[in-house]
């Protein structure tokens, strides 16, 4: 036989032997001979084979570990084998084997598998020379990818139960990353020009990802009865990492648009910026609301500037519908506002897009969010926001909200605020040109009218109409015609034409209409009990029961009551006007 052929046959034989050994190893495990396998592995003679082929054992090992009970000896042996493999095997191949194993798990197995393999993974990564940074990044990305589909425990009970092990796992991962952080720190201290950015970049990416998941959706308040809140701990660790790699402060100020140093292509930088918006918002929340890392933050910024910087983050959080994000946005907004003194926020800040957008988004939360305590909170925050502005700011904000909120309740609330400001101006409690005279007249034009004249739906707009009437009543009482500080007497004819007269007409029409409806229903009830449902209403997939005639009558009566209310205030206002005018005429005659 020629030389080459025999050599080839020998090689093939060797290969077969090796393959057999692998299969044998697997079989050993599966048949329960873990301790024997451990001996084989610990045997010096087998070192080379283990080095090259040991990674094959990962998969069966993991399976066995999960099969055996905690107390079982065999489990102990398997864990030891895992440890040995980490020490002995070729790091590059073992790394791929471990990663593959993690990639293949899903559902309930994920956290258990990850936590099991973190230690060997760390050992192996620390041994890598080339491509260490890339591999660390890949590992962290892979792990976070596997964790992301899992639901984040939110209530106290869910956190204590930690059914899928996510809380534990997250903290294990952040601990796993620590030696790599130390390495970056050491390198940065060694040379002031730290050239090898790669490992730092990968850690930064991991932190950004963690800020989005799980931290953005996690509940981060202190919980009674839970000593060490797992997500608070996780958050603190992430911030620690960012501080150590010197990225914490730069990230908090990333709102300054500019060329991102990470990307050459500006378009990629834009995309990255969009994706990172939520992570950065979460970071601000952690810093300013939960006060993690606030010690590192410069304490010389003006509170107005801090609010300005946070407006983008607040907006990012408030446009979401998930409770976890909405409540963080509201908390962040509130904490920024509480740092400011009333009347200290200059009106010029309203020229920043965010300052006009955010109150409008807040109004949406106030009116549309299904969660009651969040609606209430946003209303409180709106009032706080209003209170912080100087007079011109309040004025502009009121105008903006009246024009953009499209909600009678909100408009009514703003009108009440206007009344309060006028009151303060008249009491000379503040030096105020914005809520008297020419400016006020311009504002009153927006307030003292019916949006659709006599055809305005009085019921839907009742909040707003009542608030306007109360405002008018206040003005008539407080501001004498001779004084006319507010200018209301100047525009009284206009008010009568645009507001009071059409309101009379509208009220008469509405009352007549509803009274006719009531009469109809009562007559129909006497006749047949047929349900001629003109339309049906479905809420959350369930069809609402048709209203009984009784209920319908109740609704119609309550509408009439509202009209009566409006009319009584209207009459009172007109009475007052007459009295004042007459009084004025008497004085002059």
């Amino acid at each position: 036989m020629p030389e080459e052929q025999s050599q080839t046959i020998m090689a093939v034989d060797e290969l077969q032997a090796i393959i057999q050994r692998c299969v044998a190893g697997q079989k050993c495990l599966e048949d329960g001979y873990a301790s024997q396998l451990l001996e084989v592995i610990q045997n010096e003679k087998n070192k080379v084979i283990i080095k090259n082929m040991g990674w094959n054992l990962i998969s069966p090992l993991v399976r066995c570990i999960f099969m055996y009970k905690q107390e079982d000896d065999k489990r102990e042996h398997c864990l030891k084998i895992l440890d040995q493999l980490a020490q002995l095997c070729n790091p590059k191949e073992l790394f791929l084997g471990l990663l593959e194993q993690i990639e293949q798990t899903s559902g309930e197995q994920v956290c258990q598998t990850v936590m099991l393999l973190l230690q060997p993974l760390q050992t192996v990564l620390l041994k890598l020379q080339n491509k260490k940074a890339y591999s660390v990044g890949l590992s962290l990305a892979m792990i976070m990818n596997q964790l992301t589909p899992l639901p984040v425990p939110y209530t106290k009970q869910q956190i204590q139960e930690d059914k899928l092990g996510l809380c534990q796992c997250c903290n294990a991962v952040v601990d796993f990353a620590k030696p790599f952080v130390s390495e970056v720190v050491k390198n940065m201290e060694k040379s002031s020009e730290y050239n090898d950015m790669e490992l730092k970049e990968e850690l930064l990416k991991f932190c950004m990802k963690s800020l989005k998941y799980p931290l953005l959706t996690a509940q981060l308040e202190q919980l009674e009865g839970i000593e060490e809140h797992p997500f608070r701990r996780f958050a603190t660790e992430i911030i620690d990492i960012l501080w150590n790699i010197r990225e914490l402060i730069p990230l908090v100020f990333l709102h300054r648009k500019g060329k991102s140093p990470h990307w050459e292509n500006q378009e990629f930088a834009d995309i990255e910026q969009k994706n990172s918006a939520e992570s950065l918002a979460c970071l601000s929340y952690l810093m300013f609301v939960q006060r993690f890392g606030i010690d590192c933050f410069p304490m010389v910024f003006s509170p107005s500037y801090l609010l300005q910087c946070n407006m983008t983050h607040i907006e990012v959080l408030l446009i979401r519908t998930e409770e976890s994000m909405l409540s963080k946005g509201l908390d962040l907004f509130e904490s920024c506002l509480l740092r400011m003194e009333n009347n200290s926020l200059l009106h010029q800040y309203l020229e920043f897009r965010g300052f006009i957008n955010v109150p409008q988004v807040l109004v949406k939360v106030m009116t549309l969010c299904p969660i009651e305590h969040l609606r209430k909170k946003s209303l409180n925050i709106l009032q706080l926001f209003i209170d912080k502005f100087d007079a011109e700011g309040k004025y502009t904000l009121f105008r903006c909200l009246l024009k953009t909120s499209n909600h009678a309740g909100v408009e009514g609330y703003v009108i009440k605020n206007i009344k309060d400001q006028i009151h303060l101006s008249l009491m000379k409690a503040c030096d105020n040109t914005w809520f008297t005279g020419q400016h006020l007249i311009s504002l009153l034009d927006l307030v003292l009218l019916l949006p659709e004249g006599a055809e305005t739906d009085l019921l839907q707009n009742s909040d707003r109409i009542m608030a306007s009437l109360n405002l008018l009543r206040y003005l008539i009482i407080k501001d004498c015609e001779s004084d006319n500080q507010t200018g209301v007497w100047t525009i009284l004819p206009k008010i009568e034409q645009n507001f009071l007269k059409p309101l009379h007409v509208g009220l008469n029409m509405s009352k007549a209409h509803y009274e006719a409806e009531i009469k109809n229903k009562k007559e129909n009830r006497r006749e047949a009990h047929s349900s001629n449902t003109v339309c049906s209403l479905t809420v959350s997939g369930e069809k609402m029961p048709a209203m009984t005639t009784e209920m319908q009558l109740q609704v119609l009566h309550s509408a009439l009551f509202t009209f009566d209310l409006i009319e009584s205030v209207l009459s009172r206002v007109e009475e007052l006007i007459e009295v004042k005018i007459k009084g004025g005429m008497d004085e002059n005659s």
Binding site: K259, E267, R291, P298, M299, R339, L346, Q348
Partner: protein, 428 residues
């Protein structure tokens, strides 16, 4: 004495010294900010409003407790002077410092954090003390002109501050005095009134329009324009300006009247203005002034994109304006080589009219230039479905196919080499 006590008494001594001998640097002369110079600066100039300043500092409360220090962060603290970014005491104090100077500042709460304090470290009504340690108190390290758009394109140095904080917005009418210099020679000097965004009509480069949006009434400043914000590749033969020249302008914003914000206009107004603005945009486009055209078309989008409560007639008009705006914006971005933005605009146009030939074609062009050959080909194929006669689309499809082939060839060559290299390395 313990270190704390030592620090405390040292702090008290210095605070006392400031209270006694410190200079009152407040404009209101209410002793709200007191200063003592520890070491005078090396140069004469003080920073101007808007300049970027680099400072090292250490801050203490009245009880001597340190609440902050830039040296703990190993990095100087950077901010824009006189813009309200920092507590009032600093905007006032740092403005009086010269480069290299070290000083102490004693700040009353009204010039710091007032009654609100600053959680967690600064209580309500706290007097703050920025003080000396061996490392230095407040040290002004450096300052430089303000980079308006953080891309080096426009640098501003303010010679005289304007009033208030209000700025002209896009579309505002401004009255300015302007002098333009190139290579040291003055080429333009005039008083002019125009609309921000339309400076081109008066031979004013786009950089001035952009800078005006950050200026205040009465401000007098010097602007250093890079070519992108100047006359660009076309230069300005009328003034003898070459292509890609760097320009220096001295501008005084005498007065301005702001344009209405979107929420202040009603639908009728917006539709009227949209017609006017569309024509302007087209005019600029024909002259090759793409940045200006983008501004005009952009107005249509910002006014109408989120407009609600339109009647049917208004809705139709609005959609027609938006469609034209998006399509034209896409063309502009193609010319400006901002391909991702071009695709975005085409997407929006196609959202309004899904088989719009121009929209599909322009998106195809943009994608081709972004090397997304498959996607580009799909777009061009759809163009042909809408209009089988479109010859340009046909030829673009062949271009796509050719490029795809070239790319694959190149990849194959690269990877072939790669494996050979790996094999060689492993063999070693």
């Amino acid at each position: 004495m313990t270190t704390d006590e030592a620090t405390k008494s040292e702090g008290e001594v210095q605070a006392a010294a400031l209270a006694e001998r410190g200079e009152d640097i407040t404009p209101a002369r209410d002793r709200g900010v007191l200063k003592i110079i520890k070491r005078p600066g090396s140069e004469d100039e003080t920073p101007m409003i808007g300049d970027k300043v680099y400072v090292h500092y250490k801050g203490k409360l009245a009880n001597g407790k340190k609440f902050d220090s830039s040296r703990d962060r190993n990095e100087p603290f950077v901010f824009s002077l006189g813009k309200g970014q920092v507590i009032k005491a600093w905007d006032i104090g740092v403005a009086t410092m010269k480069k290299g100077e070290i000083c102490y500042l004693l700040c009353k709460p009204e010039y710091a954090y007032g009654s609100a304090g600053s959680a967690p470290k600064i209580p309500s009504n706290a007097t703050l003390f920025f003080e000396a340690s061996r490392a230095g108190a407040v040290e002004l390290l450096d300052f430089k002109g303000e980079d308006l758009f953080e891309d080096g394109g426009i640098i501003r140095r303010i010679k005289r501050k304007g009033e208030g904080y209000s700025n002209p917005n896009e579309g505002a009418t401004v009255e300015i005095h302007l002098e333009g210099f190139c290579g040291g020679t003055r080429f333009d000097c005039k008083d002019v009134k125009f609309v921000v965004g339309e400076g081109e009509d008066h031979d004013i480069p786009i950089g001035i329009d952009k800078a005006l949006e950050k200026m205040q009434r009465g401000e007098h400043c010097i602007l250093y324009l890079g070519p992108r914000y100047g006359f660009g590749e076309a230069g300005k033969p009328k003034y003898g300006i070459q292509a890609n020249a760097e320009l220096v302008y001295e501008v005084t914003l005498k007065s301005f009247e702001k344009a209405k914000e979107s929420w202040e206009m009603d639908t009728k107004e917006k539709l009227e203005q949209a017609a006017i603005v569309k024509e302007k945009g087209t005019m600029y486009f024909k002259e090759g002034k793409y940045l200006q055209a983008v501004i005009q078309y952009g107005k249509i989008v910002s006014w109408l994109e989120m407009e609600y409560g339109l009647s049917e007639k208004e809705s139709k008009a609005s959609d027609s304006f938006l469609l034209a705006a998006f399509l034209n914006l896409a063309m502009c971005y193609l010319k400006l080589r901002e391909y991702a933005k071009a695709v975005e605009c085409c997407d929006k146009a196609l959202g309004l009219d899904q088989d719009n030939e121009k929209g599909l074609y322009r998106r195809g062009e943009a994608r081709l230039l972004m090397n997304e050959f498959e996607l580009a080909k799909c777009d061009f194929q759809r163009v042909l479905e809408v209009n089988p006669q479109n010859k340009a689309a046909k030829s673009q499809i062949s271009v796509c196919q050719k490029k795809t082939k070239e790319h694959n060839e190149r990849d194959r060559r690269i990877y072939a080499n790669m494996f050979t290299k790996f094999a060689e390395r492993d063999a070693k």
